[in-house]
Amino acid sequence: MTLPAEILAGARAPAMDRRGFLTLGAKGLVVAFAMPLVGRSAVVHAQAATPPTTQQLANAYVQVGTDGSITLWFGGSEMGQGAMSGLAQILAEELMVDWNQVTVKQAGVDPIVSYLTGGSSAVSRRYGTLRNAAAAARELLIAAAMTKTGDANRDSYAAKSATVMYTNPVSHLVTTWPYSALATLAASQTVPADLRLTDPGKFRLIGQPVPRVDIPSKVDGSAKYGIDTWLPNMVFAAIKHCPVIGGTLASTPSKPSGAVAVVPCKASDTRGAVTAGSVNAVAVVASNTWLAMRLANNLSVSWKLPASTAGVDSAAILAQAQGLMAGGQALCAEPAPPTGTTPASYATQLEPAVKAALGTPTIDATYTLPYLAHATMEVVSCTVNIVFSTAGVAQSCEIWAPTQAAAWVQQTAAGLTGVAPTQITVHTTFLGGGLGRKIEQDYVSQAVQVAMAVKKPVKLTWRREEDFAHDQYRPFALVNVKATLASGRIAAWSYRNVSQAILGQRGWLPPGAVDSQATEGSTGLPYNRGTHIVEWVPLPAGIPVGFWRSVGSSINAFAVESMIDELARAAGADPFQFRYDNMTDDRARAVLWAADILSSSWRNSLPAGHAWGVAIAESFGTWVAQVVDISQPSAGSMKVNRIACVVDCGTVINPDSVQAQMQGGIVHAMNAALWGQMTFTAGKAAQLNFNNYRMMRINDMPQITVQIMQSTNPPSGIGEPGVPPLAPALANAYARLTGTRVRTLPFFAGAGSGSDD
């Protein structure tokens, strides 16, 4: 997923803020690092306006204990992307400790350490920050050693394996201290102004495929996900939403036999604010999860349905989008409107010139992409324990959640309970997949509401069917691209995307502004497009939409890279050569060239019945090119045999994690491209479980080769960028194989479970 600039602004600043360095002598050395507060958005980090308390700073990045422990307090969410390990690698590198000397602990909500996990930023945006924090901790330990020797010459000291070594310049005698023996003294030292960072050429751990810290617990059942939380005396809840999107509760149903309680639940927004008058679900509380789910499923509820379901019906939405494509007011995303000109008026102003340059377009194509569910393996689940006074007033609150946004969990609970945020503890568990779904606060809000009502510890777990039917979906989109070639070069390009506004639906978008989530991947393309315009037309439909792995790029890369291939074919050019000829970005060119070479051994000697396709896309600062080899074992099917994948993600922290994320991104994209589709009839979701929302199985798995570009650029994202190029690469191969250009995803709608059972 990606996030608006204002949300990530705080995480972007590379400069160090020395006010953030704090020390807690009693426990050893603790080094925290505050992102500069300037530019940090009030929308997200209201708490950053207040100076952190000592207690909050106990959750600092780096802790060197007097007991020999070296701890990284992890402020993000580990959802399989390896962030927990990636950050620990950076810490261990600069702190000069060995990989097996570091322990990673999950931090609570903290203004310095916590961050929202999204935008493929978990490791990449903290690279500089954590290197500085760890280097500062190392230098404080060395400064502590200086006070013991009286020799302030830094060159007399070295650090290795959690030990400071001092070589007396006169006697040449060597003294060593373990970090634990220096930790307390280090806490009263000052960080030197010129912090020494390790020369990247001498990295021991950054760039190495060290084993991930979370993996052992994930092979023996001991890893704790949100759904695994267990508290003494807790009760179990399941949810039943109004099956029609937009419907609300007409009357509270009576408690069924065997239930502990039935609790009406108000809807809430992404950051947990409840919407007045919006009771859209009831929770059923019982003595175990299965009973709660069964009772909820069988519960007869009277719902008040919305007056019209046109805004939540796939057929009606398609018709509406087609109307807007033909005659809607567009907003111009590229070229950027000059100051004082609105995106709408700039679009109107530019359109005639683009239309003139297009003349009769060489290709005029409309691409259609469906709503998609996240379908994380772990359904959403949240456990809440509220302590009440004898008068029944909530006094403190503890929450366990598989969340991508712990700070928002705290905010959600504060709003519902009246408990001060300082009295709300959030435990971020492992996430059984996040994919952008678990940034949302709907399930957290419901669990808190149930705990307030029943006044007992409660774990809420959604049935899979509720998870599918009440997701915040990847938006449906209609994209029209017109382009005209002149002598094999793109001379004019008009791009128009009609889709819902993810930010707009959350109230995060000023009126008349372009939703960055809708247009990412369609602007700043690596191709010279001559006279061009990129437009977005907001689609005012009512399907809840959200951040789905790679977000807008999952839509726009399909339209852009399919179109590029259509143009190559029209020009009679090789798809690689056409891209090289029109490409303006050297980094993209290098990645494409590497993919060209990597795939050339098999690409030019494919057996009969096979065809290849290529696509390239940038997202989250990372370039990925993929070349696929497909065949068609029978009509109406596709077998993906082989994929060559080249990635440029800047400095590599862990090449094994990069490979894993490329492999995973490809599978995620294949699920979507081949079969993924949510459809709605009069507000009701048609796909409710994996039996009609097909996911790949192991026998569908192609052979994937991943190659990583050597780079000294700052690290960029890896969690999402593997997704966008895959669907267009498949469509491009399919066109080559069959002569049929697939412009509507998925390739095979209405797939079953994909299981032989």
């Binding site: 023996d220 997949g433 599978v667």
Partner: protein, 143 residues
């Protein structure tokens, strides 16, 4: 009251006989390594061994499981020493890890039935949304 033999320990559980084994394991016995994924025997996250056979516990009645030998991920080995667990670590298979209990139990069941390498793969059709299949393919090669 049903008697369940789980990981070599006998438990008396006081539940309705139609309660799926999955939820008895998770909510009654506290063995949360076995996961809920779909509830309809499609994804395989809930796979356990029942009398040595991989079974999807989300749709197995407790009354049917009673008296049989049940092994969950927690009971597969001490100290992650089962060859499948070792291979999973060596190949750094898990990402989010949520499906991996079921994957490993499916693999262990296929091994117990005498399968090796690619034969094991043909017995595994669980869903992994993270897409760890490439590494699972590599991991089973030595098994």
């Amino acid at each position: 009251m049903y008697s369940l033999n789980v990981n070599g320990v006998s438990h008396s559980v006081n539940v309705d006989g139609s309660t799926p084994l999955l939820w008895v394991l998770r909510d009654v016995l506290g063995l949360t390594g076995t996961k809920y994924g779909c509830g309809i025997e499609v994804c395989g996250a809930c796979t356990v061994l029942v009398n040595g056979q991989p079974e999807k516990s989300c749709d197995m009645d407790t009354s049917e499981a009673a008296g049989k030998t049940i092994v969950t991920i927690e009971g597969l080995s001490a100290n992650r020493s089962h060859p499948a667990q070792q291979a999973w670590i060596a190949h750094q298979v898990p990402q989010c890890g949520y499906c991996q209990s079921g994957m490993i139990m499916a693999c262990a069941g296929a091994m117990q039935a005498g399968h090796h390498g690619n034969e094991i793969l043909s017995e595994m059709n669980n869903i992994c949304v993270c897409g760890t299949y490439a590494r699972i393919k590599d991991a089973v090669q030595g098994l």
